[in-house]
C-alpha cells in the first residue's frame, strides 16, 4: 500500500462517523470570516496603514507624473538613476526625468525595481502583486528599493475583496500572489525589528489619482 | 438558602481559619450553612495526575454528601473549578450518578463568586486597614471567571486600598504536584511573583486559593521577607483571621 493510501485509510477509520461530503459546496460558496468595520475613505485608510508598516507613500495626479516623482525620490535617497521596471512602465517619459529604466529579468545587483500592483488592501496597507510574463515576481524582491505604482481606484477594503476582484478579473490564481506590506524585516536577534532583511529595505508606493 | 461548605483538604489541614472565615461570611450573607462531616478531597490530585478512577469515586461521594444543599461554596478557585468544570467531563453519560454529579457541578460556586453573584453581599463584616495587592489564582480566574468578584468585595472594606501588582494574572508556580515535581521552576515563578508583590508597595498579598498562598508565603519567607502578610480573601473579608471560634 502506498503512503497516500495508508494515510487516507487511517484518516477515514478515525472519522468513523459518516459526514456528508460538502467539499465542493463549501468551495463554491466561500464564507468570509468577520470583516473589519467599513471605512468611508479607503485611500486614506490605505495610506495610514501602509505608512504604519514603514512604506512611503507619494501621491500624483496622473501617470505622466510618475517619472519625476520617482526621480525626486531616488535623488533624495541617493539611490542613483538606474531602475528595472515591469514592461508596462516603459512607455512613460523616463528620459525627461533622467532615469534609465530597463524591463528585463532582475539580477542580484539591481538597486531599484519598479512594479505595478494588481490592487491594494486598505485594512493592512498591503499591495497585491501577481506574477506573470510581464509582471515578474523578482522585480519587487531582489532590489534594495521597491517602487510600486498603484492606481487609487484599485484600493479595496479587505483581502477577501482582493480575492473577489481576482476571481472576477482573472478567473483564478497566477503562479504567485504576493502580498507586500512594507520593507522586509527581521526581529530574530533579540526581538529587535530591523528593516531590510533579504527583501527590499525600502518600499515606495506611488499612488496615482 | 441552604449552603454546603466544602472546606477543601488543604484548608482543613493547613489553615482552618480560612474555613471559619468562610463560615462567618456565609452566615453574614444570610445563608443557612451546613458542613458535611465526612467530606475529604475533591479528587484534583488524582485527576491532574491522570488517574480518573479515584476522581470519579470522589465526585460521586461529594454529590451524595451535598445532595440536599441549594448551593455548594468552596473557598478555593481550583477545587471549585474541579467540581464545576471538570466533574462533568468525567461523567458524560446519562446514568443516575452522572446526573447527580452534573447537578452538583451546576450549583457549586467559588466563595467570592457566590458572595457577589448569588448572595449579593453588600457589607462584608471584616475590617482591614492598609494596602493590599491581589493575586488572581489561575483556576478561579480562567475556569470560573473570578476577576471582579474579589475586587468588588475588597472595595467594601473602607480602610483597605487595593494596589494592583504587575502581572497579577500570572501563575505563582504552585500547580499542585508541579510545585514538587518541578520545584526549581516553581520557585522561580514564585520569585517573579514576589518581585511584583514588592513592587506594588502593598504589605499584604491576598488570593483566593490556599495552594498559591502557601507557595507565595513559603518563597517570601525563604528569600528573607518575614514582613509581607499573605492572606486568603476570606480571612480579609471576615476580618477574623487567626481566630477559630
Amino acid at each position: 500500500m502506498s503512503a497516500r493510501e495508508a494515510i487516507l485509510q487511517r484518516i477515514r477509520s478515525a472519522q468513523a462517523h459518516a459526514v456528508v461530503p460538502e467539499v465542493e459546496r463549501i468551495i463554491a460558496n466561500p464564507v468570509r470570516g468577520p470583516q473589519p468595520a467599513p471605512v468611508a475613505d479607503l485611500v486614506s485608510r490605505f495610506i495610514e496603514q501602509a505608512q504604519a508598516l514603514s512604506s512611503q507613500v507619494l501621491r500624483v495626479d496622473a501617470r505622466n507624473e510618475i517619472p519625476h516623482t520617482v526621480a525626486h525620490y531616488l535623488a533624495e535617497n541617493s539611490l542613483g538613476n538606474h531602475a528595472l521596471c515591469w514592461p508596462d512602465f516603459l512607455e512613460l517619459d523616463w528620459i525627461a526625468a533622467r532615469i534609465v529604466v530597463a524591463a528585463q529579468p532582475t539580477s542580484a545587483d539591481d538597486a531599484v525595481g519598479i512594479t505595478g500592483a494588481f490592487c491594494a488592501i486598505a485594512e493592512t496597507g498591503t499591495l497585491m502583486l501577481l506574477s506573470g510574463a510581464h509582471t515578474p515576481a523578482a522585480t519587487s524582491l531582489l532590489p534594495e528599493t521597491h517602487i510600486a505604482v498603484l492606481d487609487s481606484a484599485r484600493i479595496v477594503a479587505t483581502m477577501e475583496d482582493a480575492w473577489d476582484l481576482l476571481r472576477r478579473e482573472r478567473g483564478g490564481l497566477p503562479r504567485a500572489v504576493n502580498f507586500v506590506s512594507g520593507p522586509s524585516r527581521t526581529a530574530d536577534i533579540e526581538q529587535t525589528v530591523t528593516l531590510g532583511a533579504h527583501g527590499p529595505a525600502r518600499v515606495l508606493i506611488v499612488l496615482v489619482g | 438558602m441552604r449552603v454546603g461548605l466544602f472546606v477543601t483538604c488543604l484548608v482543613d489541614l493547613m489553615r482552618p481559619s480560612i474555613g471559619f472565615a468562610t463560615l462567618r461570611l456565609l452566615a453574614h450573607a444570610g445563608c443557612d450553612v451546613i458542613v458535611p462531616e465526612h467530606q475529604t478531597c475533591c479528587g484534583q490530585p488524582g485527576y491532574n495526575a491522570g488517574d480518573h478512577t479515584a476522581a470519579r469515586e470522589l465526585a460521586i461521594k461529594l454529590a451524595l454528601e451535598f445532595a440536599d444543599c441549594d448551593y455548594v461554596v468552596v473557598p478555593s478557585g481550583s477545587c471549585a473549578g474541579m467540581i464545576r468544570v471538570h466533574y462533568p467531563t468525567l461523567f458524560p453519560d446519562d446514568s443516575e450518578p452522572a446526573r447527580r454529579v452534573r447537578a452538583l457541578a451546576a450549583r457549586t460556586y467559588e466563595l467570592t463568586d457566590f458572595l457577589v453573584n448569588i448572595a449579593k453581599l453588600q457589607d462584608v463584616p471584616g475590617r482591614f486597614t492598609g494596602n493590599l495587592t491581589y493575586h488572581d489564582s489561575c483556576s478561579g480566574l480562567r475556569e470560573l471567571g473570578v476577576k471582579q468578584q474579589p475586587r468588588a468585595l475588597l472595595a467594601q472594606l473602607p480602610d483597605a486600598t487595593l494596589k494592583e501588582m504587575a502581572q497579577c494574572e500570572t501563575c505563582c508556580g504552585f500547580g499542585g504536584a508541579f510545585s514538587v515535581k518541578f520545584d526549581e521552576i516553581s520557585s522561580r515563578m514564585a520569585d517573579n511573583k514576589a518581585r511584583h508583590i514588592h513592587a506594588s508597595g502593598a504589605n499584604t498579598v491576598v488570593a483566593g486559593d490556599l495552594g498559591c498562598l502557601l507557595n507565595i508565603e513559603g518563597r517570601l519567607r525563604r528569600i528573607g521577607d518575614q514582613a509581607t502578610r499573605v492572606l486568603h480573601i476570606a480571612e480579609v473579608l471576615a476580618g477574623d483571621e487567626g481566630q477559630t471560634s
Binding site: 526581538q191 | 489553615r15 491532574n48 491522570g50 500547580g175 521552576i185
Partner: protein, 466 residues
Amino acid sequence: MKVASLKFQRNAGKSLNNKTLQSALKNIESRFVGARREAISHLDDFEAVRSRATTIRDQVLANLDQWLIRFEQEAQRRGAIVHWAETAEEANRIICDIARQYGVKKAVKSKSMVSEECGLNDALEAAGVQVVETDLGEYILQLAHEPPSHIVAPVLHKTKDEVSDLFAQHHHLPRKTGIAELCQEAREILRPHFIAADMGISGANFLIAETGSVLIVTNEGNGRLATTLPRVHVALTGIEKVVPTLEDATTLVRLLPRSATGQDITNYVSVLTGAKALDESDGPEHFHIVLLDNGRSKMLGTKLQAMLRCIRCGACMNHCPVYQNVGGHAYGWVYPGPMGSVLTPSFAGLAATLPLPNASTLCGACAVVCPVSIPLPDLLREVRHQQSLANLRPWRERKALAVWAWLALRPIWYARCAGLMSRVLAWLGGAKGRIGWLPGAWTRGRDLPAPAGQTFRDLYRKREKP
C-alpha cells in the same frame, strides 16, 4: 531531530541558571506578549474571528481525507507534484530523491519546523546536497549547530553578542556589534546562495484546497527568494495544514501574525500555485509538495484531535510561565511549550516524553491566547491520563496516589491522618510557624508555613459540640 525530552528537569535547571539565556528570555514578555495584546486590539471583534477560525479548522479535520484529496487534485492540475510521506524518514527520502532527480547541489531553506521535525538537513547533507538555512534565526542556528528554541523566533535564546561572535568566527569579517549591521552582513553572505541554489525548500503555513496553493507568511523575504529563484521548489508540510478556501486562509492570516509576533500582517504573504509558466522569467520550473503524516492522523478521532487545529503561532509558549522561565531547549525537541507538550508525546511516544505534559501548572494562560481555541490544559491532562493508563508514571507517584485515594474515600481514616499530620507539622513549625526542611522537594526552594496543630474538622466539631 533526536528527542531529549526525558532530560527536561535537568535541562530546565541549567536554563534557570544560565544568565545569558535568562536575559534573552526577558524579551518574551516585553516584545511578544505586549505586541500581541496591541495587535489583537486592532481587530473589531477578536473573539468572533477566533471562533470562525476554530470552525474552519474543525471543519477540515472532520473530513480531512476529502480536503487533502481536493487539495491534491487542484495542485496537480496546476502542475505541482504531490508526495505523501508516512514518516519523517520517508519525507527525507522523497526530498533526497527529488534533489537527485534534478541534479541539485545546493538547497536554500526558508524556516520550516516540519523540516526540523524530520531532520531534513542532515539527510540532504548525507545525500551530497549543501543546505543553507536563510531565515536569519535558522542561519544563526546552523552556524551554531543548535536546534531552534522557539517555533517562530528560533534563536530567541541567543543574545546579540553571541551572534556577533558567531558571525566573526564564520564569516572572517570584522566583528559587528549592531543588530542592523549583523542583519546586513547576513544578507550579503546569503544573497549569493540564493542565486546559486538549485532548490528552494519551504514549509507551508496553509494549503488551500480550493486552488491547490501553498500559503507562506514571512517577514524577511527569504521565503519569497527561496521559492522564486531556484529551479526546484519543495514545500514540506503536515497533512493537517489544509484549509478549504482563500477566504478561510484569509481569516487565519488575520490571526496568525497577530498571535505570533504582534503584527497585523507579515511583510509577505505568498500564495504559490503550480510551477512557472513557459513565458514567465522567474519562478521554479518544478514544484513539489510533500505531505507528512508522522503521527498526525493517529490524533484524529481521539481526545487530542483539537491539537491538529494548531497554526503554529507560538502564542501558547510566549504566554506560558514555564516556557518564559526555561526557554525552548529544555523541552528537548522541535516543538516546545504547551503545544509541544501535547504534540511531542503523540509524535515521539509517551515513554520518551514523560516529563512534558507534567511540566505545566495548568494555569490556562495558553488556552486564553490560542487563536484556534485549543483547550491546551485539557489536552495536557489527557496526555497525563494516557501516561497513567499506560502505567508509565513512576512507582513512587503511583503509590502516593493510591494511598491518597484510599484515604480520601475513607473519611474516618482520612480525618485521623490529617489530624496527625497537622500536629506533626505544627510541632515542626515551632514558634516560628514555618518549616525550613522536610523530606521531598517542597522545602528545597521554599519554607512551608506550618498549620496550627488542629484540623478544621476537629475544631469545627469542638465548636458545634463542646
